[in-house]
């Protein structure tokens, strides 16, 4: 499936901002099942300098600064991405989850070393006993890892309610667990915490999800949103991505942008400004499947 993606973020300030510095992670990754054919970053006002590179996790990151007074900032990313069908990992027999835990501890291949860092959270995380209890129910001794993750995904989907009003970007996982409601990033963080508490490696994935309009309705331009889900290290099956918000393995509707330990590692736009007073923020995301033109 091919997509044209446009992601626009617009800040409007009540007072002039003389200087701003930003780090953005908006470029879709190139993966075995995903090719990014084209990526373009449009910034207004024109940045004084722009530097693009890859970060520790292999995500493309751009640093730019604007050093003239401005009343607003618009960042638009345009990408052309092709997502190929992902081989169904259910055809592969996966090892018991305890074996994967041991592999993460003792393995020294570049793959397991890379995976090992995702057993540990970013400095903000710490052990939560209640979560471990919750997670264990999906991982009886000897259970195949894939079956365990699938069951955990299902339970989060079933037990937790989608509620866009319940949380903010800073709501702690404990609170999400307590109140049993939240949005995709809350479920993602929750599932990651569960898996890490068992000694498994889990990544936070940021990306987009194509929205399919109800039958007979036109696709709404700009109504898509960025999305988040979980990627789990499954031993010989490698990394397998689960979307707890939709209780599914990822499909060709999921477009991957960045991997990290948590939201902070993949945050699409970070910025530090001087002045600016109050600021307003508008975001629009448009994920357009290529194909017969829309009529």
């Amino acid at each position: 499936m091919k997509y044209d993606i446009t992601h626009t973020t617009k800040y409007t300030y009540s007072e002039a901002v003389p200087v701003c510095q930003n780090l953005v992670r908006l470029a879709p990754r190139s993966l075995p099942y995903q090719s990014c054919h084209h990526f373009q970053l449009l910034i207004h006002p024109e940045p004084f300098e722009l530097d693009q590179r890859h970060d520790y996790f292999g995500n493309q990151v751009a640093y730019f600064s604007i050093e003239q007074a401005h009343m607003g900032l618009t960042i638009t990313s345009k990408s052309e991405v092709e997502v190929h069908p992902i081989p169904n990992p259910e055809d592969i027999a996966t090892p018991a989850w305890e074996e994967v835990v041991l592999q993460l501890k003792n393995g020294r291949t570049s793959e397991t070393l890379d995976a090992c860092q995702f057993v540990f959270g970013s400095p903000a995380d710490h052990e939560q006993t209640a979560l471990t209890e919750f997670a264990r129910q999906s991982f009886p001794p000897g259970a195949q890892i894939l079956a365990g993750v699938r069951d955990l995904t299902r339970r989060i989907f079933k037990d937790f309610e989608f509620d866009s009003q319940a949380t903010t970007v800073h709501t702690p996982v404990e609170e999400v667990f307590e109140n049993r409601r939240g949005v995709c990033q809350d479920f993602t963080r929750l599932q990651i915490a569960c898996l890490r508490n068992l000694g498994l490696a889990a990544r936070y994935v940021s990306g987009y999800l194509r929205t399919i309009p109800p039958p007979g309705k036109p696709r709404l331009v700009g109504a898509d949103a960025s999305h988040a889900w979980v990627s789990v290290f499954c031993g010989n099956a490698g990394w397998v991505d689960f979307d707890p918000t939709n209780n599914t393995l990822i499909t060709t509707d999921h477009i991957t942008v960045a991997y990290g330990r948590d939201f902070q590692d993949v945050s699409p736009i970070q910025g530090v400004i001087v002045g600016g007073g109050e600021h307003m923020l508008e975001v629009s995301v448009d994920v357009v499947p290529e194909g017969p033109p829309l009529r």
């Binding site: 800040y11 780090l23 640093y63 866009s164 960025s226 945050s267 970070q270 400004i273 975001v283």
Partner: protein, 846 residues
């Protein structure tokens, strides 16, 4: 010179080394170690009396220098004077060189570990270090990886904590690689002790510390990205509220670097700049005294609102060098100590020259087993250092029962390490007599890659029980100087003997950080406020202790109005009908003067003066600081008995002498740089406001018998002598107003203040291309013109005849409005462009 030589054991003969423990001075119960003999002999010649006298003097110096661990966080928070012990720890040079070599080797290993972990990470792929040791480490921030550092060197300054075990061998018990503290204190200790024992010091052939600090300068200079001859090096401090601020000040001054806080720096075009009065000035090298993860809110830690946004980008671009490199604290963990012997083998192909205390990291299953089974004989520690939380973490570990600790280790094994319990050697200490304490040494090193140098000296810490030395620092500890005793004559080295380098002549001072200018400006204001407040209090006290009948004194109500208007006493005293309900002023005054909780009180003014003084200490001479210290120390109520009005008289008299000394230093010894200018502008603005306040409360309305009032205000404004020499005892309004308002030759007149302000404002840095005058220039000129155009005779006449006060009042109130406007204009243009930065809102996916 004493000729009679007392017996050699005289001074120390009551000292008893601990049986079984290693004593640094005595080799057994009665015999001094050979290397300590010269010292003991010299001290014996001094004798107890001379020793006590010198020690008293030294303690005085320490107090005055205010070597303190914490700054004046709040005026109530007095810095703790550094408890220093007079006897240095003595170590023979031959022994110390072995220690130094071992520490250099250690530093090379640490540097290579950093280089690898922030680069190819072969230590992980080759199974030398368990990956969890890195990935579970909160200090392993991904943005430190693959940064660009000069010479691929991450570690420039380090310190190592050492102990000597009973067998006489030195052991490493801790490393500091983030931004090691203590070398400034080692230096200050040396200065105090060598001054106390100049004769002893020279005869004992003590190795100098200056060699080390020269190397610090040389190392930092070599890091300059453009290899400039005179790179701009700044010391990035955490600021006055941080524990090590005074050491920052001390080092910045000794090494000759600009002291900056993160608010003084900005990144533009991926270069680091200091925000100064004259604009942005590029920085080449940063001596970092802040923790890495508080250094860049954009690139390192969005949760921290401090730091210099974009700093990591400047590092990445190779435009600035930081010592130590960002993230250098990764290797100062106790978890890593468990792997040091192996790392040394793998990285250098050598055995570790000096062992570190045996350490087990609980993240490793076998080690964890061992620790859990032997918890009694081990010291449990946090595996990774989280700077600033050390003491709390140690405390929480110490407060846990064995069972709790076991549980905690099982729940979070990666977070814990344990090392074997070890004894520490002992040394004699002096606390009104001889005593014995355990000693810990902190050694320091500096350099790059293969070339490190270890200080020939150390910071020694002593404590009566070995336990409290386990924690990096605790209250109530003492410290000692450490003498490395050479068996050859010692070469004199000084930071002043620099190799010849061409230095362009400079006279500017536009590179004063805006924040510092702001503080100096307020220091100037507070200095003058202290003076006028003290004079008011003194004048009132003098009147109240005089023989005259208090009710008949016409100047008393005037003084009380002034005191009330400044908030020194309750406002009720200004109103005659309320005054009767309040306790008599003579009873209240001695108390309110010392009441630091009331904002306008003399003591509160002095507190603020001292706080500001401590903040800008790096811009003041030592003598100036000493005066501030004295002001703070001496103006206090007596500890015994009550402080009465005549005591207030004495104390304010003394205070005014100190304040005058302060002013004298400013006039006579401060270079006319922007620092001086801002301090002066502060004083002039404050004095203008004080003159106006005094006039308003004394002459409006004009009292019936104005003579005593005239005399009092002239006295308060230091103009009485001049008046008498001109007009004898004839007090008339016209001449009084002339002296206080329009006489430009009187440094206490308003016109003089305006004249000086205009001069200073003219010299402020500004764009040469800007046409016309700036706002602050226009405001200061208009003040000066207004006062020059005033006809005091006419004003006095009208004021005397009509006595409705309108003309004079309108004048005073006009000035009272315009002076602050000038202050605001200066502040807006020069001082507040250091506005804080903040984070943009983030958008979470939904």
């Amino acid at each position: 010179m004493s000729t009679a030589q007392p017996p050699a054991t005289d001074f120390f003969n009551s000292y008893a080394p601990q049986r079984g423990a290693f004593d640094e001075l005595f080799q057994d119960e009665t015999n001094v170690r050979p290397h300590g003999q010269p010292f003991v002999n010299r001290v014996n010649i001094l004798g107890r009396d001379e020793f006590s006298r010198r020690w008293e003097m030294a303690q005085h110096t320490i107090q005055e220098n205010g070597i303190a661990y914490s700054g004046y966080a709040t005026p109530q928070d007095k810095p703790r004077p550094w408890a220093l012990d007079p006897f240095p720890v003595l170590i023979p040079a031959s022994e110390w060189y072995t220690v130094s070599d071992a520490l250099k080797q250690r530093a090379r290993v640490m540097n290579l570990v950093l280089r690898d972990l922030y680069g190819p990470q072969t230590l992980l792929t080759n199974d030398v270090l368990p990956p969890e040791l890195v990935f579970a480490h909160p200090g392993f921030r991904r943005s430190y990886h693959r940064q660009i550092v000069p010479y691929n060197c991450f570690l420039h300054l380090f310190s190592t904590d050492l102990l000597r075990a009973n067998d006489g061998h030195w052991w490493v018990v801790g490393d500091r690689t983030e931004s090691p503290s203590g070398m400034g204190y080692a230096l200050e200790n040396r200065i105090v002790i060598s001054r106390m024992f100049p004769d002893v010091f020279h005869q004992c052939r003590v190795e100098r510390l200056a060699t080390f600090f020269l190397q610090v300068q040389e190392t930092l200079r070599s890091l300059s990205p453009q290899q400039r001859e005179n790179p701009h090096i700044v010391l990035l401090s955490r600021g006055p509220t941080a524990t090590n601020y005074f050491e920052d000040l001390y080092l910045a001054r000794y090494l000759g670097y600009t002291l900056v806080e993160s608010g003084d720096l900005a990144v533009r075009n991926r270069k680091v700049m200091v925000k100064t009065l004259g604009g942005l000035v590029p920085v080449d090298v940063i001596l970092r005294r802040r923790n890495s993860d508080e250094c860049d809110p954009l690139g390192i830690n969005p949760a921290s609102h401090e730091g210099v946004s974009g700093l990591t980008e400047a590092v990445r671009a190779g435009n600035v060098a930081i010592a130590n490199a960002l993230g250098s604290g990764l290797v100062e963990s106790s978890a890593l100590m468990a792997y040091m012997p192996r790392l040394c083998q793998v990285l250098l192909g050598e055995d570790l020259q000096m062992p570190n205390a045996r350490t087990w990291w609980c993240g490793d299953a076998q080690s964890r087993e061992f620790v859990l089974n032997n918890l009694d004989g081990l010291v449990a520690q946090p595996a990774f250092r989280r700077r600033g939380q050390d003491d709390a973490t140690f405390e929480s570990i110490r407060s846990m029962s064995m069972d709790e600790l076991r549980k905690e280790i099982l729940a979070n094994p990666h977070e814990y390490a344990a090392r074997e319990k070890m004894s520490r050697s002992t040394v004699p200490v002096w606390q009104d007599g001889l005593g014995r304490s355990n000693v810990a040494l902190r050694a320091f090193g500096v350099g790059t890659n293969d070339q490190y140098l270890v200080m020939n000296g150390a910071l020694a810490r002593v404590s009566s029980g070995p336990e409290s030395l386990e924690v990096s620092r605790r209250l109530g500890e003492q410290s000692k100087d450490t003498w490395i005793l050479s068996d050859q004559p010692v070469k004199h080295v000084s930071l002043l003997d620099e190799p010849e380098r061409p230095i362009p002549l400079r006279r500017s001072g536009d590179d004063l950080p805006s924040r510092v200018a702001d503080n100096l400006f307020w220091l100037g204001r507070l200095l003058d406020r202290a003076e006028s407040t003290a004079k008011l209090v003194r004048a009132t006290a003098r009147l109240l202790v005089s023989e005259a009948d208090v009710s008949s004194l016409v100047e008393l109500p005037m003084l009380i109005r002034c005191l009330a208007s400044q908030g020194q006493i309750e406002p009720g005293y200004a109103l005659p009908e309320m005054r009767d309900q309040l306790p008599p002023v003579e009873d209240v005054l001695p108390h309110v003067a010392f009441d630091s909780s009331s904002e306008g009180s003399l003591r509160a003014v002095l507190n603020e003066l001292c706080r500001l003084g401590s903040i800008v200490r790096d811009r003041l001479t030592r003598d100036t600081w000493r005066i501030i210290y004295r002001i703070d120390e001496r103006f206090r109520p007596f500890e015994r008995g009550t402080t009465n009005l005549s005591d207030i008289l004495t104390l304010t008299d003394n205070l005014l002498i100190e304040v005058t000394a302060f002013s004298g230093i400013i006039t006579e010894s401060m270079t006319r740089t922007q620092s001086h200018r801002f301090l002066e502008m502060g004083r002039r603005i404050e004095r203008s406001l004080q003159i106006l306040d005094l006039l308003k409360h004394s002459l409006i309305p004009l009292p019936e018998r104005p003579g005593p009032v005239f005399r009092t205000i002239l006295e308060i404004s230091d103009s009485l002598m001049t008046y008498r020499s001109r007009y004898l005892a004839n007090f008339r309004l016209g001449p009084v107003l002339d002296l206080m308002l329009t006489d430009e030759t009187n440094p206490r007149s308003l016109a003089f203040q305006f004249l000086k302000l205009q001069e200073h404002v003219d010299y402020l840095p500004r764009e040469k291309t800007q046409p016309g005058f700036s706002t602050e220039q226009r405001l200061s000129m208009s003040l000066l013109h207004t006062i020059r155009l005033m006809d005091v005779e006419e004003i006095a006449e009208r004021h005397r005849l009509a006595n409705d006060g309108n003309t004079l009042l309108a004048l005073v109130e006009d000035f009272e409005l315009r002076v602050p406007r000038l202050f605001e204009a200066i502040s807006l243009f020069y001082l507040v462009h250091a506005r804080p930065a903040h984070q943009l809102a983030e958008i979470a996916p939904n």
